[in-house]
């Protein structure tokens, strides 16, 4: 099971969504798909059509910058970061 950590900006948009959860996922895209299945519309908050990760959203797998097709290990840690922007 991968440990997934989400940015604080996401839970207010999706009732019941925790900041941290465990998912049995094989890739980053699989994480997104499983999140979207439980909280419809969540994919659109992290990805653009294409699909591609939104420019100001970063995924890290085990502390390495990741893409949607990045594979996950059994105990990978996935951090979803809202990049520094705005003001």
């Amino acid at each position: 099971m991968a440990e997934v950590y989400l940015p604080s900006t996401l839970p207010p948009l999706f009732p019941g969504l925790p900041r941290r959860l465990e998912l049995d996922a094989s890739t980053v895209d699989d994480v997104v798909a499983q999140l979207d299945a439980s909280w419809p519309g969540l994919r659109d908050r992290l990805c653009e059509p294409g699909p591609a990760i939104r420019p100001h959203i970063h995924f890290y797998v085990d502390k390495e910058r990741a893409a949607l097709d990045t594979p996950l290990e059994a105990r990978s840690r996935v951090d979803v970061i809202a990049a520094i922007s705005g003001g």
Partner: protein, 359 residues
């Protein structure tokens, strides 16, 4: 009890200001929409719902909706994207129009999406493909920094398939068959720059239409105020008497076809009120003459701007006017602009102001 509700879209969420018919005391609620930048918030008189066009730098664009005047909110962007149009991307929902439950969203790059289920899902209605100028606005190289989009949509209250759309920096277009075909409506407008097409190439900032005479329209243009007496088929400039030819916000009197309001701004980089003197200007003779309205407004050192959706007028017997500034103040008048008071002082930068009368 009749409620007067002012919807304020800001850089950090949507706010609601509420009063009664007298409009003397105001209560502020918000911020809503999780502090997302809100570009335009509107009220659907048919269903009572509020919709807010928003774009988060992190989480993209969406339309927020509240069925209960701000008590609860949800958001959706389902279908609100160019899925199969090559490099054409939607960067922002910039403008909303709503009529009897049908919601239209004008977006950048230029296109109009519609929702028939109360903002839960959207589908692409039109990109105005093939219209003169579309080869330019559909060029990804123009996005950004051009940020060309559909900056306004205006329904016809009588004919469901008729509405107008402004393509930013290009001009005004009308459809009478629900966006199947379009006609440019820019005859008589001024442009102080070279244009590639006869019918377009005009910078229409704001379009308003008289609710007592559908043939009477006004528009604030990049270069001048204009009036139409034939529903936009031809335009006549009515700038003379105003301090500048430039501005964004405008409003028509709900009961008098001759009365119209505008907020002129300096046309340079500042785009604030001329001489730091906050004023709304009113004509009562369709643009033959103009009157400065500043009683109660800051007349010195007020370097404030007002954007294209930044002014609204209500439909009370003595109409109330409202405008929101780039520095977060909302000013209101309950006497057709004769006198003003500040009803919110410390909001984030304001993008839009709309008003609804709710029973």
């Amino acid at each position: 009890m009749v409620r007067t509700v002012v919807l304020v879209g800001t850089r950090k969420g949507c706010f609601l200001l509420e009063s009664d018919e007298a409009r003397r005391e105001w209560e502020l609620r918000g911020p809503f929409c999780e502090g997302w930048p809100v570009y335009h918030a509107v009220h659907d008189a048919g269903t009572g719902s509020i919709y807010a066009a928003a774009a988060s730098e992190w989480h993209g664009s969406a339309v927020w909706r509240s069925p209960d005047l701000g008590q609860t909110w949800e958001h959706s962007s389902e279908g609100l994207a160019y899925e199969s149009e090559g490099e054409k991307k939607m960067s922002k929902v910039s403008n909303l129009a709503v009529k009897n439950g049908r919601l239209l969203a004008g977006v950048e790059m230029p296109g109009i999406f519609e929702s028939k289920d109360g903002g839960q899902s959207f589908s692409l209605l039109t990109t105005l493909a093939g219209q003169p100028g579309s080869e330019g606005w559909d060029d990804p190289a123009n996005q950004p920094p051009g940020h060309l989009g559909i900056s306004a949509i205006m329904f016809d209250p009588e004919q469901d398939e008729r509405f107008w759309a402004i393509v930013q920096g290009v001009g005004l277009f009308e459809t009478q068959d629900d966006a199947k075909s379009w006609t440019p409506r820019n005859k008589g407008l001024r442009a102080d720059w070279p244009r590639e097409h006869e019918d377009v190439g005009f910078c229409v900032h704001k379009l308003t239409r008289s609710s007592v005479d559908g043939d009477r329209m006004y528009q604030q243009n990049h270069v001048g105020m204009h009036r139409s007496d034939d529903c936009g088929h031809t335009w006549t400039e009515i700038t003379e008497g105003l301090p500048t030819e430039f501005g964004f916000a405008a409003a028509t009197h709900p009961h008098d076809r001759e009365t119209f309001y505008v907020i002129p701004l300096d046309p340079g980089h500042g785009r604030t009120m001329p001489d730091g003197h906050a004023s709304v200007w009113r004509t009562r003779d369709a643009g033959e003459s103009w009157q400065r309205l500043d009683k109660g407004l800051p007349t010195e050192d007020a370097w404030v701007g007002v954007l294209r959706e930044g002014m609204a007028i209500d439909t009370h017997e003595a109409p109330g006017l409202y405008f929101g500034t780039s520095t977060g103040q909302v000013f209101a008048s309950a006497d057709e602009g004769d006198s003003w008071s500040e009803i919110a002082s410390y909001l984030p930068a304001i993008s839009s102001v709309e008003v609804a009368i709710v029973d």
